[in-house]
Amino acid sequence: MAEEAVIQVENLVKNFGDHEVLKKIDFEVHKGEVICIIGSSGSGKSTLLRCINHLEHPTSGSILFHGKEIHNTQKELSDYRARVGMVFQSFNLFANMTVLENCMFGVQKILHLDKKEAKKRAIQHLQEVGMAVYIHAMPSQLSGGQKQRVAIARALCMNPEVLLFDEPTSALDPEMVGEVLNVMKELAKEGLTMLIVTHEMAFAKNVSSRVIFMDNGYVVEDESPDILFTNPKNERTREFLKRYMED
């Protein structure tokens, strides 16, 4: 890959008490890549994503952004997180704000841009995800799929360099999964760098440029989707995919 690495994960270890969830993870994310992280529940993929965003602080090892290590200080974390957005399984839209306020909040309070710019960005990105007509609604008045589309728009308003998705469709009713995946496909086409923890194998196969298979806290395989889905090198990857395809 000729492009410069945006995020580097180096020797990342994460323990919860005595339990080692991540065991020496190493990989790089390059500009424009769409990387899907797959693996069974408990394999550590969500923890990996939360460590990259520092919502969980690594036990050891480091996260580098444009070659610079991110330390656990408010200033460094704020600057870094403003440029690396995150979309959650449970949406986490602010319940005390309307759709519009949710999207304007970060632009005004974190990027310190004026209200006009915040509103302009909010409307632009809400239109991209097809939610602009709902700007006056409260999150509780929306369906799961709508909430997730707003959450994606909110993250886009910060103009992030990388967007992390933590199982963005796992909490959705089956008929709403499509609308969210379509939005993500569009973003991939536009060249946004994305790191996606997902159970949507078809999406991983068709949209991603790289697929990482995790098992028991290790990165077992890190390959292009063509190779990983048709000719996986590792026995455990094969087993996992076999089980998934049967379901």
Binding site: S78, N96, G106, A132, H136
Partner: protein, 259 residues
């Protein structure tokens, strides 16, 4: 003072309770009115400042010490928690009437000439803060942790997330409890008569003493307390309903074409 009192014919011993109550209420109308205002002043100012203190206490009680925090941060958090813990314990474990005496006479004995109304407000604030802290902590706990994560993940600090996201939601959850606290404070101001706050209880004691008609005088203020609490309770219930309701939103049809 006499000029302020109405010239009324004094009822005789043969007159019934109602006549005496009516006489007391009219004769000391001005005093009762002033005392009502003092009662409200102490209760409103004391409760509002007490809420502010309570929120601060709740936030401190909610602070968590993370293993990855710096040593200085850990130390500051620990000290804050200890101070707040001691304060809350003292004020929850002593009666308000005793707190009033200790604070008022304690300050004056040390040449801090606090007025009784100021001391009364101070006692109410400290008392409310100690009780509200626990309520606020519960209110903060009741907010989904995902709300804070959503804010942190876009670069907001813990304090910012608290201020803009968590506390507004916690406030809504604990509003009924805040209404209760206010009504309770309004009634508890009556104990402040012991440090000479000229609130309703002290007025009834004074008016009753003038004619040895205590039952009738206290009946007057019982009615005043009842009316105040009844009205305020209805106001709080209305606000609570307003906070809870989710208004129907209007579709922003100007953006319909773009979808």
């Amino acid at each position: 003072m006499n000029a302020l009192l109405l010239e009324l014919a004094t009822p005789t011993a043969a007159d019934g309770t109602f006549t005496w109550v009516w006489f007391m209420a009219r004769k000391y109308a001005h005093m009762f009115w002033t005392a009502t205002l003092v009662t409200l002043l102490v209760a409103v100012v004391g409760t509002l400042l007490g809420f502010v203190l309570g929120f601060a206490v709740g936030v401190v009680e909610n602070m968590k010490i993370h293993p990855e925090d710096s040593a200085a941060r850990k130390a500051v958090t620990r000290i804050l928690k200890i101070i707040v813990g001691i304060y809350v314990e003292i004020f929850r474990d002593t009666p308000m009437i005793v707190q009033g005496m200790v604070i008022y006479y304690g300050l004056r004995q040390n040449n801090f000439m606090i007025t009784s109304i100021a001391a009364g407000i101070l006692v109410t604030v400290l008392n409310t803060g100690a009780y509200m802290g626990e309520t606020v902590r519960g209110g903060i706990d009741s907010v989904d942790p995902g709300q804070e994560e959503g804010a942190l993940a876009m670069g907001m600090s813990h304090a910012g997330a608290m201020l803009y996201i968590i506390l507004p939601q916690a406030l809504k959850n604990i509003f009924p409890e805040m209404g209760n606290t206010f009504l309770n404070n309004l009634k508890m101001t009556s104990v402040l008569n012991v440090i000479g706050v000229s609130e309703l209880f002290l007025m009834a004691k004074t008016a009753g003493g003038a004619y040895y008609k205590y039952y009738e005088a206290y009946l007057v203020i019982a009615i005043i307390y009842l009316i105040l609490c009844f009205v305020l309770n209805r106001v709080f219930l209305a606000i609570e309903r307003k906070l809870k309701e989710t208004k129907n939103y209007e579709l922003a049809t100007e953006y319909l074409v773009d979808d």
